[in-house]
């Protein structure tokens, strides 16, 4: 059936040397990132039209710090989606982390002990997801939908309807404060460091290569001695730890630990990842694209806020953006195929791509 694939599917054959490392930077997504820069510019322009306050340093601090929890969760979510899975439970892990942090603090345990404990709990939550998905072979959509409910329930068991808010000022300043003398929030620095690590891991190390391999063809990856189960489990553990970190940051930013912290955030996390050009079917995507998507969405939300658009309508906007970011790559691909066909019809290349010459 596919034996004459080289002849049957020449459209997908690589033509330009720019696609030399397709696992890292597919040309489609390179263009997608360019597109994201354009949208980001458009949203910034809209923001300046809406309010003179938009381009001020303090608004920059506001719009970024409001987005940092989802941004941090979006980084491991990117790798999980590229590997062909999904983690919907992160917002509940965040809530559980917040609840446990509040509970421990209220019980008089110092923060230096609370924070590592909370991160460990996040890791355990991720480990459970990972074991159910990678070892038991259950679909991650179902597993993490289940733990989405489970971890939220646990969070509410831990703290009930209480809110713990008497955190020390040094801790809360970390949540919403900026580096002295600049508009850069501390949390943005945390995100920048994590972003750099994920960028490096995804696109410059063999761990990243294995993640892409698993997402494109997990059977072939397994036959190529990639430990698919261990890799996926590790991704879920990292996702859990960073969701817990996001929970700590959210608690600090709101100065309030509650069991229902972070409800509904997973929609934003998935939107950011897909807006960043990651293929929901796995195997394709880039960390830089997702980082760009963080700022694109932050800018849009800030502009809508300043324009006085209510929260409900903002959710509508996020939903629309999610739909657009899923459909746009397909439309773009179709358009590229058509344009490519027209160009080739006008200037036929001298050599057929499929029958290349011998290397060397």
């Amino acid at each position: 059936m596919t034996k004459e694939r080289a002849v049957a599917a020449p459209e997908s054959a690589p033509v330009s040397p720019a696609v030399a490392r397709p696992w890292a930077h597919p040309s489609v997504l390179a263009r997608w990132e360019f597109f994201l820069v354009l949208i980001l510019g458009l949203f910034v322009w809209m923001g300046t039209r809406v309010s003179p306050y938009f381009l001020t340093p303090s608004n920059f601090a506001n719009l970024t710090s409001a987005m940092m929890e989802v941004a941090i969760m979006a980084l491991p979510a990117t790798l999980i989606i590229i590997a062909g899975e999904i983690d919907l439970s992160v917002e509940s892990t965040l809530g559980l982390a917040s609840a446990i942090l509040g509970f421990l603090w209220a019980a008089g345990v110092p923060l230096e002990v609370d924070i590592p404990l909370v991160l460990a709990v996040g890791g355990l939550a991720g480990l459970l997801n990972g074991l159910l998905v990678a070892r038991a072979g259950l679909p991650s959509l179902v597993v993490t939908l289940g733990t989405l409910a489970l971890y939220r329930g646990l969070a509410q068991v831990v703290l009930g309807t209480r809110a713990i808010s008497d955190f020390p000022s040094g801790f809360t300043a970390f949540g919403f404060g900026t580096v002295p003398g600049s508009p850069i929030p501390w949390t943005l620095i945390v995100f920048a460091m994590l972003g750099a690590v994920f960028w490096f891991v995804a696109h410059a190390t063999w761990i990243g290569r294995q993640v892409f391999a698993v997402g494109k063809n997990k059977d072939a990856a397994r036959y190529a001695a990639v430990d698919v189960a261990a890799l996926k489990t590790a991704l879920f553990v990292v996702s859990g730890v960073l969701a817990a970190l996001a929970g700590i940051i959210l608690t600090a930013r709101f100065s309030s630990a509650r069991g229902d912290n972070g409800s509904g955030l997973v929609l934003t996390v998935v939107t950011i990842v897909l807006l960043g050009g990651v293929d929901i079917n796995g195997g394709k995507g880039t960390i830089p694209g997702v980082i760009l998507a963080v700022f694109t969405l932050a800018t849009l939300q800030s502009a809508l806020n300043l324009a006085g658009v209510s929260g409900d309508y903002q959710t509508v906007a996020v939903g629309l953006l999610l739909i657009v970011s899923i459909t746009a790559p397909y439309i773009a691909r179709q358009a590229r195929t058509v344009i490519g066909r027209v160009l080739r019809a006008r200037h036929p290349p001298p050599d057929p791509v499929a029958h290349g010459e011998v290397v060397g």
């Binding site: 054959a13 195997g283 499929a354």
Partner: protein
């Protein structure tokens, strides 16, 4: 008739070929059933077919052969209504027809059986056969009883014993292929196109298939038989057409051709088959003792020496792939032991097998062997990345150099090592899979159907590579359903039947008859020509 084929060919009526004239078919054998005239088809930059003509007569089996990329599949897809030709005409029984889609093809009576069966695994045999045109009662309700009767009658006519009420899941590849053919014939096909139907079948299943195809021919159906296996062309077909690089090369009566002729026309040069070099046999590398896995194989013992090619023959489902999967750590054995260099092996995963020095070229290269939208380099280095770059950071230049070394050594035809493997031909893809495993420096290499679906030129190349690897001291296990290949390549042949080794035949004593005899569950003895090929599928109750 102004449609004489391009090259200087000797087109003769099949009537003057002795021994192949069917006795009393419905249609006159010389009547033209399907004519393809001057058809061309381009895919963007690639010319898939250039000015190709072909005539199929009623009541003949016509072979279409050629290497990958020769345009065979493109022509099949045009006739099946999947592709529309850029130019040229198609005549069915003398009337010009357009085939814009597969439904039209079916309505015209053109039935296509694809290489891999495309059935619904959870529906019954009868439902699969009559899916598109079920017998109905009033109000359009499906008449299940009638459907079952019709299916049973159809299989009866084909001489196949199959439970038409059984679900397709769990049936052998061979049975699924027969269902595809029954499906094709259920619509009163005028033209039956078989696109490499035998690549997944064992020898006796092939025989059964051939009997059915002959019966279809005798009913007056024009059969186009696309195959890589030349011996099948000679056994089954009346005439043969060779395509090369999208062009028609020759059409001739099979009686006027030799294997050497066909190969020469296909590749455009003379080729020697199976260059197996004699290599010194060394120490025992791999030893398997009383290995068992319930439901797959029992009490399997054998040894593989350095420099030795051990062939594994047997019917599909005899347990060969299952043994390979245990040797590669994908599945675990329930009993017995494996030793490599005299040390016991405990393989819990492919990574463990890789560390031990065992490599496996899997049967299904698209599903298990390759990541199709990875480059050649990325595929070749995937198993050894952790070993190659212990500090995590990948050095693209290093891995590209490594990949280029193997690409040169195995003569992979590609524009560069950065090319995506999906753009390569089947044979070159298989070489990339082999390169991937050679890069791990294995001691034992297991090859599972390494030449299935690759063209003759590439097949010879793969044989050359395997032979050289053995000569360099590797122990090789060659699993293949291609008997001539096993016989030509192996120093020793293990024959399996229903999960047990039924014969171990040294090279000097091996013959097709002996291997087939053992593969069908007999242990030694003479000629197995007795029962016709139309015998039951999985009855197996021979005395």
């Amino acid at each position: 008739m102004g449609d004489a084929p391009g090259a200087g060919s000797s087109v003769r009526s099949r009537v003057d070929t002795p021994g192949v004239a069917p006795d009393g078919p419905a249609d006159s054998p010389s009547r033209s059933r399907l004519e393809v005239r001057n058809v061309s088809k381009r895919f963007d930059a690639t010319a898939a077919l250039t000015d190709v003509s072909l005539e199929l007569r009623a009541g003949e089996i016509h072979a279409l052969v050629g290497e990958n990329g020769a345009g065979k599949s493109t022509l099949v897809k045009i006739l099946a209504g999947v592709h529309v030709p850029d130019s040229g005409t198609i005549l069915l029984d003398g009337v010009e027809v357009q085939i814009p889609d597969p439904v039209t093809a079916r309505l015209l009576g053109i039935a296509v059986v694809h290489q891999e069966p495309r059935l619904f695994p959870d529906l019954s045999v009868a439902e699969n056969v009559f899916l598109a045109h079920p017998p109905t009662r009033r109000l359009g309700a499906i008449s299940w009883a009638e459907m079952r009767q019709m299916a049973a009658a159809l299989f009866e006519e084909l001489g196949v014993h199959l439970d038409v009420g059984a679900t397709v899941r769990g049936l052998s590849m061979a049975d699924q292929q027969l269902i595809e053919i029954a499906k094709a014939l259920s619509v009163d096909a005028r033209v039956l196109i078989l696109d490499e139907p035998t690549s997944a079948l064992s020898a006796h299943e092939v025989e059964r298939l051939f009997a059915i195809v002959r019966r279809a021919r005798d009913r007056g159906v024009a059969v186009l038989f696309v195959s890589h296996r030349l011996e099948e062309v000679f056994e089954l077909c009346d005439r043969a057409t060779v395509f090369r690089d999208g062009r028609h090369i020759i059409t001739a009566s099979v009686g006027d051709l030799t294997t050497a002729d066909l190969v020469r026309h296909m590749v455009g040069r003379a080729v020697t088959l199976f260059p197996k070099a004699e290599a010194p046999i060394g120490e025992v590398l791999l030893e398997v003792r009383h290995l068992s896995r319930p439901g797959a194989f029992q009490d399997v013992s054998f040894k593989v020496h350095a420099g030795e090619i051990v062939g594994m023959a047997g019917l599909v489902g005899a347990g060969r792939t299952e043994i390979a999967r245990v040797l590669f750590g994908i599945d675990q054995a329930s009993g017995g032991e494996m030793l490599l260099d005299g040390r016991p092996l405990h393989l819990s995963s492919p990574s463990a097998a890789l560390r031990a020095g065992i490599a496996y070229v899997p049967e299904d290269r698209h599903r298990d062997g390759l990541i199709l939208d990875f480059s050649i380099t990325d595929n070749v280095t995937l198993p050894i990345l952790p070993r190659l770059f212990p500090h995590l950071l990948v050095h693209p230049a290093t891995e590209r150099t490594l990949a280029r070394g193997f690409v040169d050594r195995l003569r992979v035809r590609a524009t560069s090592v950065d090319q995506l493997v999906q753009a390569l031909s089947g044979g070159n893809q298989q070489k990339v899979v082999i390169a991937k495993w050679l890069a791990t420096h294995p001691k034992v290499l297991i090859l599972d159907e390494p030449t299935r679906g690759v063209d003759i030129g590439a097949k010879v190349e793969v044989h050359r590579i395997v032979s050289e690897l053995a000569a360099s001291g590797l122990g090789i296990v060659l699993i293949s359903s291609d008997l001539p290949e096993v016989l030509a390549m192996s120093d020793r042949i293990l024959v399996l039947h229903e999960g047990r080794i039924t014969a171990e035949i040294p090279r000097a004593e091996a013959s097709e008859e002996r291997v087939m005899f053992a593969a069908t569950g007999h242990d030694g003895g003479a000629s197995a020509e007795a029962g016709g090929p139309s015998e039951a599928s999985h009855a197996g109750g021979t005395a």
